[in-house]
């Protein structure tokens, strides 16, 4: 191949590579936007449908809210900005999960606290049970001298009686 032909081929290769890279980046961006949108749909409650997020609800208002979320994402708004936009209009009840501040912190802290306290209680109960089995076992001959003395005295007394009176 002559020199101009080689240059032309290289240029063509570069253009194809550039276009395919751009295409891949666009598809990736689209997937990322879709994922972000899905995540936000699941974080917003439908103001009309009890217990349903806008992702689950089929109401027209939810559809309009989904479209608005998507549009705001495309305009470059962040997840937090979009959620805040809806909170300002519908109040905190529009959020599927309560915010982690103020009185709402109780909702987040309580389960952790219950698990922690429950773990401690469980540990204490198990420990007590294990110790309880040791206590109910036979007393160690080396630790309880009062029993030894009592039986030793009885044994010595019986032996003495036996020596004095013999076996009858």
């Amino acid at each position: 191949m002559n020199k101009p032909g080689l240059i032309l081929l290289s240029l063509l290769g570069l253009i194809i590579f550039g276009l395919s890279s751009y295409g891949c980046a666009s598809v990736e961006q689209l997937h990322s936007l879709d994922e972000q949108a899905q995540e936000i749909y699941g974080s917003l409650m439908c103001p009309l449908c009890p217990g349903q997020t806008i992702d689950q609800s089929q109401s027209e208002l939810s559809t309009q809210m989904r479209l608005l979320v998507r549009e705001k994402l495309e305009q470059g708004e962040t997840r937090e900005e979009i959620l805040q936009f809806f909170v300002e209009r519908y109040g905190e009840t529009v959020l599927a999960a309560p915010v982690k501040s103020g009185f709402n912190l109780i909702v987040w802290i309580t389960p952790v606290l219950v698990i922690f306290i429950g773990g401690i209680v469980l540990w204490v109960i198990i420990r007590r049970r294990v110790r309880g089995e040791t206590f109910t076992g036979l007393p160690s001959p080396t630790t309880d001298d009062s029993y030894d003395d009592k039986y030793r005295n009885q044994l010595e007394k019986d032996l003495k009686d036996f020596e004095e009176r013999g076996f009858r």
Partner: protein, 178 residues
């Protein structure tokens, strides 16, 4: 000895009773979802919008600054909207010369049904659709009908969820005019 014996069961009972009370409160205090419609917007500036009117032309809220505005969200399929329609028109006729503007925002509706509704009740104040729901969402509207009362400074002073009576309309407008 006795205190230690009853301490743990006492705490357990108190915790269970607390959670029980919360559950009962949650079940008993049932404010309808529609009741919360627009609540977050009260005492805040009314979001500006431009409404394309059924009668042609358009109206922009900010252009009405300096005058009290009553915005009613409605739909032709909504029964309470039918109940309030005549009263709204009557009150509009009563106050239009005193600088009060009424705006009807038709939501989640078909245009032909909306036009039939307007004709049926003889509504003459500006009315238009909100096809993509932007005004609906901007005003935090869930359930309809809902009526917002906006003062001369453009602040949403109050709202009424459900069919609004002429009495409520007049009382609220008089407050705006004070």
């Amino acid at each position: 000895m006795n205190i230690r014996r009853f301490l743990v069961p006492g705490i357990v009972i108190l915790v269970i009773a607390g959670f029980g009370a919360l559950l009962a409160a949650g079940l008993l205090i049932k404010e309808p979802l529609t009741g919360a419609s627009g609540a977050a917007r009260v005492n805040r500036p009314a979001s500006d919008f431009t409404l394309s009117l059924f009668s042609g032309g358009e109206i922009t809220l900010s252009s009405l600054r300096g005058n009290p505005v009553v915005i009613n969200f409605w739909a032709s399929w909504c029964q309470p909207c039918r109940e309030e329609a005549l009263g709204l028109e009557k009150t509009w006729q009563l106050y239009r010369d005193r600088g009060v503007t009424f705006i009807g925002v038709d939501i989640q509706d078909k245009e032909e049904d909306a036009l039939a509704f307007i004709e049926e009740f003889g509504i003459t104040y500006p009315n238009g659709p909100d096809p993509n729901g932007r005004i609906t969402i901007d005003y935090g509207v869930g359930g309809i009908p809902i009526t917002f009362f906006i003062d001369r400074e453009g602040i949403i002073v109050s709202r009424w969820v459900g069919a609004v009576s002429e009495k409520i309309l007049m009382e609220s407008i008089e407050e705006l005019l004070e």
